[in-house]
Symmetry: D2
Subunit: 344 residues, 4 copies
């Protein structure tokens, strides 16, 4: 059995590991932690050292096997926090597991071998968690990127990397990781994956993948969460937002879980969402300016906007909203997973 609990705590900075202090009250210890997923207050882009700082701080205190998913960017109302995923020896309603791929060679970043490495690791984690594919609601993947040095090293070794733009490499890595999730869960076939990689578009997507990339890691780290069919006090479900303002999908998912838009009903424990600027430059047919703003990257825009919508409907700014939803939900939208505590 792989029952897990979510322990969420606001953080005072990227290196704040005080969430650990909450474990004792649950009768749990640091050795029970299988993952930490945190929002840190950097820009979420190439030069976001808040992620590196957070990863270092958590590595210093967590078991070696624990996965650390640091997602930079708390734009707008989003609030920095850390969520521990902790094994619990009782039925919680949630099941989960974490795992890591071997280091991804820089030459294959964004390419089929990265997809396959992620797919294998996701498959192992799903099995380890004792989850059926249909009960999986979230697969968080933290994946590497290309730095200027990586690009130079690839070329020196005679390989052209998938892109020479360091920022673009973050997108390509997220894309490959998302396709790996889709492949592992049967959402997409290998042929569809190859076609998606060749076309470069985002039409082949996973409905549960949430991938973020950062300079602080060399492998892909995976966290799988899903519902225990046997039930329990926590309930989880997911949907996809079809665009960045899909309030209808949020309200439906809340209703499905017995929670209301103004805090009534079941208490929302956490929300995990992806956000991105629609690649066609439009939201509901209206021009957005996220892709032509040279002062502010589009992922920062998108997190702020989707974070505002979700925080309003959920009533809590401590949400995991991550930018860059390539192949994660439909273009311009993204997956959304909610966890609630059933009212007693």
């Amino acid at each position: 059995m792989s029952a897990v609990l979510l322990v969420k705590a606001a953080t005072a900075g990227p290196d704040d590991v005080d969430a650990l202090k909450l474990l004792a009250a649950e009768g749990l210890g640091v050795d029970d932690v299988i993952a930490v997923a945190a929002k840190t207050e950097g820009n979420g882009c190439v030069n976001d050292f808040s992620r590196t700082l957070g990863a270092r701080a958590w590595h210093d205190v967590l078991p070696a096997a624990a996965v650390t998913v640091m997602s930079g960017g708390t734009e707008g109302v989003l609030s920095p926090h850390a969520t521990l995923v902790v094994r619990a020896p009782w039925r919680t309603g949630l099941r989960g597991a974490s795992a890591s791929t071997p280091p991804i060679p820089k030459a294959v970043l964004g390419r089929r071998p990265q997809v396959d490495a992620v797919a294998r690791t996701v498959g192992e984690a799903v099995a380890d968690a004792g989850l059926r594919p249909q009960d999986v609601h979230l697969v968080l993947v933290k994946c590497p990127l290309l730095t200027s040095e990586d690009v130079a090293a690839c070329r020196a070794a005679g390989t052209e990397p998938v892109t020479t733009d360091t920022y673009e490499s973050m997108a390509r890595s997220r894309s490959a990781a998302a396709l790996g999730v889709a492949l592992a869960l049967g959402e997409r076939t290998g042929e569809e994956v190859d076609a998606a990689l060749a076309a470069g578009g985002w039409d082949a997507w996973s409905g549960v993948a949430s991938c973020s990339s950062g300079a602080e890691i060399a492998d892909c780290q995976v966290l799988v969460l899903g519902s225990d069919p046997a039930g329990g006090p926590l309930r989880m479900a997911h949907t996809v937002l079809h665009d960045a303002i899909d309030a209808g999908a949020v309200l439906s998912l809340l209703a499905e879980l017995g929670a209301g838009p103004a805090g009534e009903g079941a208490e929302v424990v956490h929300a995990f969402a992806k956000a991105e600027a629609a690649p066609d430059g439009l939201v509901r047919g209206r021009r957005h300016t996220m892709l032509t703003d040279s002062d502010l990257h589009s992922t920062r825009h998108a997190r702020a906007a989707v974070g505002g919508l979700l925080a309003g409907l959920v009533g809590d700014p401590c949400l995991y909203v991550s930018g860059g939803a390539e192949n994660q939900g439909p273009p311009g939208g993204g997956p959304l997973a909610l966890v609630v505590r059933a009212s007693s």
Copy 2:
């Protein structure tokens, strides 16, 4: 009678005045335009030249007396657009009027004389529109700021300006304008205004003021909008958001006007809102990072977040969300006005 119509059009750039082409279909002409309120795609801060460009383009085509309120900043999903306020010779359900103060001497910017100048002009516009104070739902004010040159000129003339920080001067000007609106409509007394100016806090607020500042003007330009007690196809109402994620207030106002969160019921024609980073650094008790982000000004964060929430609930990204809500609604929140077209 001062019935007005709102003619809203997406814009291809700050200098796009094609909204004028929509007037003919309504049987109206450019001479009927009393104001234009536009969102332009700049940063909404000191060096936002999209506002200057927009103002210049509109000045070239509108009647001299028309007020041009250019509000910079279409962060996140917000979409650049222009809204013409046009006198109509039939009952529309809305009444409105515009007016301008004399130029505000830089030495009194942010001080009581600016408050009084705005109050007088608002009073005149309310009377001109034939509105009772309780029927006023929105007072847009565009007001000047201090540049580095203004600061130097003040000091050369022997006066210490209200602030020497050009960005801060935008807030002080908005604050004085909002207090002028509150004074004109009886929301606050002169004593309360003096106390608010002395204290520097934002606790004395107007529930209908929406003020923005820009380098392109020297006077304060005022647009008043409200409900025609005799009714008509358009209906208007207002409320205040108590914080940046006050979905409950939005949903209540939509319900009051017969519109639903997913586009059902009455069609939402427009929304006018103010947004700001809560000055105590918290949203619902959670730390936000808008005030400590040295890469991105807090007004940009706040517009993106509130714009995301409103666009989701209203179903349209062409909304007027303006940053910097000092004395406009409660600290961290802001006024919200909606206009709907009653379903027939």
Copy 3:
């Protein structure tokens, strides 16, 4: 004869055209102006509306045939200013002419037809100015870019544009324009141009081209400046900076013109330079961070740094330093042209 004078004036904003007032003292009039080259205080990137505003203001007052080169970005010590290039009926020491290509179809932007259009127009301007190729010291080109709408329109018409990244399109347009200059002046052959376009690298460069791109124009506008072999009070020369800190090249060029690093000797009237982040990520073997800074585009970094060096050595912050030196001088460096007034 095509003698020209440079009339440089600090500007109070992008729409400040007061430089015209200086013409009378020279006995010249607005009809004598063949071009204006200005530095405006925007970000110099895709969403720089200071350029659009400046272009609009100058178009309203200059002869229709005059070329307006608005270059955004006055980072660091660089100071906003406008330089009029004015035909003078006496020997000044400088010769110049301006001309424009037809509108560049968006489908060929960054491709050989843009190169050829620029080359033809440069050739005409050089002939018109009565310059020999070896006396040309500066060819300013203002060229268009691709917006999100342009990309969509290209694809709708069945053509894949040279890039779908709006920011990248600025570089591709500058690159094609620079190759056009090199082709016109015999610096490169047509075969070398084709090879450079195919390879995408910046090794085939012009030593006198200074190209900038902006959303406000659809054609390429060209200004050619060079030395009158017959001499005169103004003297001009050019060199290339081999990297962004090539103080040696600046000092040599100053010495060649009889000017010293601390303001002694001949008075420096103007400097025109290009700046860019070295594409290999290194300056003198040291890592720079301009290409991995997701908060600040590399062209802003580069203008600030090169502007600091030049302003120090020239003793004046009103310099024309433009970002993005693709195919303009060696990679990481760029052309530099100086104009001095010989001491009498």
Copy 4:
């Protein structure tokens, strides 16, 4: 005797401590390190986590008493690097010492008690280094700032902090630290310090102080460097730049040390400079835009510009250029210290 050596190494990231590997070749060990002064690749402003990350990495490997001065911001050509200050048992030509104040209570940050704490600690370090005041060429001080939480805590405790603006608090802390240096070295009297604090201006300055502030520390950490009157292979001297483009002062200081602008003569080992936007908005009478750029903080502009000038004249981008020169050199300028290795 307190002879010290400077060991400078380029860094691959803020947490790169490989500079330590260079010690063995000098016959020195990690226990000999008294300080590290590094430039890290963050924004150098409030939310610069590259400093926190660097400080954490160095604390993990250096002796507890070693001072870590992490200065964020490598704009333009500036290159991330770390400089170890190491005690050497032979005559190097340099003397130095480091020391720290007790934690500075947040309520007195930017006020006289911070000045006095710094002055006492500087005095002790100067004595410890065996330096005469006239031989001191550089006093690096790293000092704390106010976060939003600090401001709230001060007010909760009944004290109004020196400012409520977190960014402004960085300037006030640097200012108090610089006045402490000036007081310790006899550059300013206590009365002048009080007057400077009361006036808030920057006219009372130190010619050797280089202060930077960061969220990662609570005390003020001091490093003093100066010339050994007995001489040695390293030579040090200092001057002040009177504005941000004072090439003349740089060239004079280079000449004084026997080094030339193009790398001839003595090898420049290191340069330490402060940079800031002139508070009057002018450089040599020309308007700069650093203080009205709402997208980019003025300290980032200033570091880029001054870094470009110095890197050009010194021939190396691995320079310590720190932003915010309040009371450190004349307004708009700043102190500059150079270390060269005499040619043999």
